[in-house]
Point group: C2
Chain length 192, copies 2
Amino acid sequence: MASFRSIKPEIRVLGIDDGRFVPRTKGFADVVGVVYRGGYWFEGIMHTTVTIDGLDSTEKIAAMIRDSPYCGELRVVLLDGVTFAGFNVVDLRALSRLVALPVISVARDEPDLVEIKKALHNLPDFETRWQAMTNSGKLFAVQTRSAENPVYVQTAGISRDFAEKLLKQTSVHSNIPEALRVAHLVASGLFR
Amino acid sequence: MASFRSIKPEIRVLGIDDGRFVPRTKGFADVVGVVYRGGYWFEGIMHTTVTIDGLDSTEKIAAMIRDSPYCGELRVVLLDGVTFAGFNVVDLRALSRLVALPVISVARDEPDLVEIKKALHNLPDFETRWQAMTNSGKLFAVQTRSAENPVYVQTAGISRDFAEKLLKQTSVHSNIPEALRVAHLVASGLFR
């Protein structure tokens, strides 16, 4: 479990989001990772693809991180939710172990777990997907900025206290960390 | 000629750079445009392709800008030099007219115009390319940050004084404007 006595302002964080894709088709969605120093400096970028509604997001994202030149500098991984490319569920606990880093998923809207479970039942390998969901830990709300909506968070390899501190410190321009905000802009702007 | 009495800290600037490509091959290079608010906030991204050693960079970049949702907000366009995808020369004056915005090219190293002219002679349409070079105006050095190397600048549609002011104000993390620094990281990181 990573613990940060105090969080350096230039802590290297990776924000990961997927590009647009046509739901329920065969194929791949693009996934972009953006490295920021804390909440301020864009430092680098990485890219992979994951199968639409597939089972490979944990492995593919782990490989993207490990193969990137930034891997050694990173201190935490932030994901835009735990489902990528439709219902390709990232197992936060497995991802954290594979890259030896804390992982935090951040959703702008409260995930409706009942609806998600229902949707997963319509796909093959329900048990695998649901296991990944439950491995991704308890959902909790974090008020990253006082005047804005909270975000909904799951974590692996980091205490709730430090996750909250880190999210607050890096959400300097909106209610989500800059690395995630920019990963979203790049992924949705370049990959449609 | 655009004149800015004072430059707003959140002025929207577009930085444009190309990705990697194999020199002297047939094909296209990717070109990425990154929108920043001043020197601090990543605001958006756009993309096009230009022909390796072709003649279409001015037109393609103009179309990318005009077709982007950010066009109306932009106040200035920054280019990483005037040659894209090899020797596909951007005509700064024509680009400025096409998008109705000031254009500034910024090179980290002093361009060797004698060498460039020699190289252009080895390509078809020398006159067109050289005309674009000369339309891109007089080269001058700007010391964007006191302790770092100067950058080498050409402009269209903006006075030298205001170009210098704008470059200094937006070069907050290195000797080049953030929008250009990040466009380079994205283009070279995603497109090889």
